[in-house]
Symmetry: C2
Subunit: 340 residues, 2 copies
């Protein structure tokens, strides 16, 4: 069984290895940390840690490196998430406080996160599954061309341009706009889509085709809306940490570009409000990301909807710092979006 000191040893191995990128040996441990015991004792502890598969030795006679399991124990039991410094908090507020738009907030957030962690940062757009329709707007652009704008109470805006078969006049537009807002306002998205299906009934028969066309487009727009999007920043950090990826960073860059993969990965991570979660190394192997870790947290926006944000990097990353940063940013973002 691994002793308390054994866990301490694991902690310093993780810390030193993350910092130095080199396998850490018993001697360097007693030199750099004051355990009050000899190197031989540390060696005994290390042998136990190796039995538990928490650390491993790349070669017969080299120092030890944490295994994925070792990182897991470190993250779950040993990492101390000390809050950010006052200066850092100040920077967050100053930086995010300026933003005016939802898009802007998220764009700033993701850049901030990548700077705080020196990793690739990811922010998911607020899920619209709990969002409600706030307003629908129809804007005539030309005789047979129309723009539909669709706004949710979470601040999300989606617009689309539509060519209709027959000319539409302002009266019809006005009528449509009024009816749409009256019947959809405040509804959840699925409900709104359902209601749209029978919407055409309230109009004069000769209007049916054009109304139907508009309604169908709007309905599609409402549902498509539920697809989540991801924004990211700091991909250059991948080049910096390149040596931590055995082969090439190609699969990582690929997964990043293929947002679907990351969204699915995000989706698998259960949301702990206020908490921060890490998926480590091979836990992501299914996505071709067996050498990367993902640290995420949930944040909530005014609609009550919850989305995720986080960072992605090599398994050998500074979990303490990154988890603290992710947690702080998520909290601040929730506060910012919640009061809106």
């Amino acid at each position: 069984m691994v002793s308390d000191r054994g866990l301490e040893v694991l902690r310093v191995i993780v810390q030193d290895y993350v910092a130095s990128r080199e396998p850490v040996g018993s001697k360097s441990i007693v030199e750099r940390h004051s355990f009050g015991v000899s190197a031989a004792t540390i060696r005994n502890d290390m042998a136990l840690l190796e039995d538990e598969e928490l650390i491993t030795a790349p070669h017969t006679s080299s120092g030890r490196v944490p295994t994925d399991k070792g990182y897991r124990v470190f993250v779950d039991q040993l990492a101390d998430l000390r809050p950010l410094t006052v200066a850092q908090r100040g920077a967050i507020e100053a930086f995010l406080g300026q933003s005016v738009d939802l898009d802007d907030v998220l764009a700033r957030t993701v850049r901030l996160l990548s700077q705080l962690t020196h990793q690739v940062a990811l922010v998911q757009y607020p899920s619209l599954s709990t969002a409600r329709v706030r307003h629908v707007e129809l804007v005539p652009l030309a005789e047979t061309r129309l723009m539909t704008v669709f706004i949710t109470d979470s601040g999300h805006v989606e617009q689309r341009v539509l060519d209709v078969a027959s000319p539409i006049d302002d009266v019809l537009i006005g009528e449509l706009r009024a009816k749409l807002n009256a019947s959809l306002g405040g509804l959840g998205l699925q409900d709104a889509a359902a209601k749209l299906a029978t919407f055409v009934d309230g109009f004069a028969p000769e209007r049916h085709p054009v109304v139907q066309q508009i309604v169908a487009s709007l309905s599609e727009q409402v549902l498509a809306n539920k697809q989540d999007r991801l924004i990211m920043a700091g991909t250059a950090n991948l080049a910096r940490t390149e040596d931590d990826f055995s082969g090439s960073i190609f699969p990582v860059l690929e997964a990043i570009e293929e947002q679907v993969t990351l969204l699915r990965l995000f989706g698998e991570m259960e949301i702990q409000p206020g908490g921060v979660l890490a998926r480590i190394g091979r836990e992501n192997a299914g996505y071709g990301l067996g050498e990367t870790s993902v640290v995420t947290s949930g944040y909530s926006s005014s609609g009550g909807s919850v989305a995720r944000l986080g960072v992605l990097g090599p398994t050998r990353m500074d979990y303490s710092n990154n988890m603290a940063a992710v947690r702080a940013v998520a909290r601040y973002l929730s506060r910012l979006l919640g009061t809106e």
Copy 2:
């Protein structure tokens, strides 16, 4: 002076080197191509090419590699831009034809381009400098909250949410909307901004503060609009071509993320309608991109405005293919956006 055959030699050196990634020697040239002369003759030609600094030898006794200047001559005089295959053209049409939205068109374009060239693809949003106001829409969201939507004839849409100091009623909204559209419709952006400055005059004095606030925000929105944006795809290709960058791909990834750099670079490349342009290697040194080349072309959108699109990759790239692809995509995009 370099003979015609000498130029042919340069051509095959560029082609073979790009294909094989290895310095090409006189012997392999006579083996792979039918020059009808001996290796010694090729060697003489190569000596001349080296005098002209079109090729260089990494080591005393190794094959030759094109210099930046060599690539330049290749691009200007030797590359044959054979049109894309019918299948490729078909793919372009099929892929881009589906899109419905300006954003969608550009997103598809950039992905397409990265797939055709296996490089990082870049598409600049259509410049709004020549765009005109098509419609302004005001959407009340709450008593003191309002969304302004701003649409140009190039299909660009910009929205912003605004908190106003005092409550606004539908009557005022209606009046504002009508007046805004009446006076701004069809105007260029600068003109619109200028007109907005004196817009408040037409309203009752007690309305001035709130109108002023809305107008100021709108004006800001109109001008901010002129900032160009860039979208990109295929960054994973950088990892694939990583070995072509001496040090790290870090500065490249960095420049890509720092869109400003690329926009400035784009801006320096003169636009030749229908033509395709290459900036090669050290010509981009000023941007920390001394080992990368950029191939661009201009495309025009309905507003008559012109923007750029292109690809970015290592100096050692397949210029023939990439220039042909960029040209074809640019032409198709112009056609697609022009008829809209």
